[in-house]
Symmetry: C2
Subunit: 229 residues, 2 copies
């Protein structure tokens, strides 16, 4: 039975959620067919009910699962004969460090760089919700959060140095082949690419070359998604 | 045949090199006996010749290997029947990210916090070499590099957040059991503990609890080494 995949959707079919990209790449890695259900922020409740309040959500054989980490663990356990997302227990454990680093370093830097651009790309029915909820998080208007991003760029790029060192020396975080660690970080940059022309990564950054390699995976799944570059 | 292990040695049997600690823990992880050869900075050339200019160095069955990463790869390949350092290809690849993060974030923060304390603990014959070489790197006197460490501490602790998140949720970076990723990061904090009473980690920091867990491994190998806490 085909898996249902509830993904965040903005204007023009832009799927920008970094966590949903983790799941989308994981489904492709496992070679699983899925029906893509683009969902507005304000339509998640109708899809997931009170038990699943955020996307990504998948429904597999009648079972609903949310949270990208839980979904990855579910897919790995449920489809052990498909290519492994983690490459064993040690790989799974180390993905937690990549997850923590991405959430602590990459996501905040991306968010402060493009949050107003996200606002410009959410569906009309999501605009009030998005602005109100995010301005509460940041404590200031979205335009003010994003302002000065050019001045912060050098420091943010420096914070990405551990990733740069790694993907300069090997094709993927997972080694010669990409694994879930790559999808965790890829999601963050795909998020930015989907809704903003602001170039977080310089043209000659080895991270951009790695991002392109990830975008080519699974017949160009990432590259073919709507985006600015 | 017992492996020879050339380790940096300061005063009072203090072995403070973070890279040598990676190797020492790796040897213990593999359950390999070794003869410990405490070596002054200025005695490395006599041990390693022109081909091996830094410690750690090991000599196994007449073969000399230097560089902690190369040594770990050698041990993993040479002793495949012993407990794995990496847990497979994905674990090995992800250790490179942990290595890059540790070298880019943890080592500079530790070095700026304790570099003058290192100077105070190197052997007499190493003092001129250490000061001259490190002042060239930092471009200022060692006391000036270290000055203000209290003021930098909050920011440095914040930089450690990805590690904190991870070891708060699981016992080791490697998961339920420690692996080489843990030894990479452990070496950095053991370096500081060996030669300084300056507390980089707060008493209630989950990273300190993880550091203690690592110190208990292999019959307390890390804990029993001379140190300030």
């Amino acid at each position: 039975m085909t898996i249902e995949f509830y993904d965040l959707a903005g204007q023009d079919g832009r799927n920008f959620s970094p966590y949903c990209w983790r799941t989308r790449m994981a489904l492709a890695h496992k070679g699983l067919d899925f029906e893509h259900r683009g969902t507005a922020f304000t339509a998640i409740a109708a899809a997931g009910g009170t038990a699943h309040r955020t996307v990504p959500i998948i429904v597999d054989a009648g079972k609903m699962i949310s949270d990208s980490s839980r979904i990855a663990d579910y897919l790995e356990a449920q489809y052990p004969d498909r290519p492994s997302l983690f490459g064993g227990e040690a790989g799974h454990a180390l993905c937690k460090f990549v997850h923590s680093w991405t959430n602590a370093v990459v996501h905040p830097g991306v968010a402060r760089s493009v949050v107003h651009d996200i606002y410009d790309h959410v569906r009309d029915e999501d605009r009030d919700y998005f602005r109100t909820s995010r301005e509460k998080v940041f404590g200031q208007p979205l335009a003010a959060v994003q302002a000065g991003r050019e001045d912060r760029l050098e420091a943010f790029r420096a914070d990405l140095y551990p990733l740069r060192l790694t993907v300069r020396a090997q094709a993927f975080l997972g080694g010669e082949r990409a694994n879930y660690a790559d999808y965790i970080v890829f999601g963050a940059f795909q998020w930015a690419r989907s809704i903003s022309d602001f170039r977080i990564l310089a043209d000659d950054d080895p991270i951009l070359a790695w991002f392109r390699r990830c975008g080519e995976l699974f017949d160009g799944l990432g590259r073919q998604a709507p985006g600015y570059y």
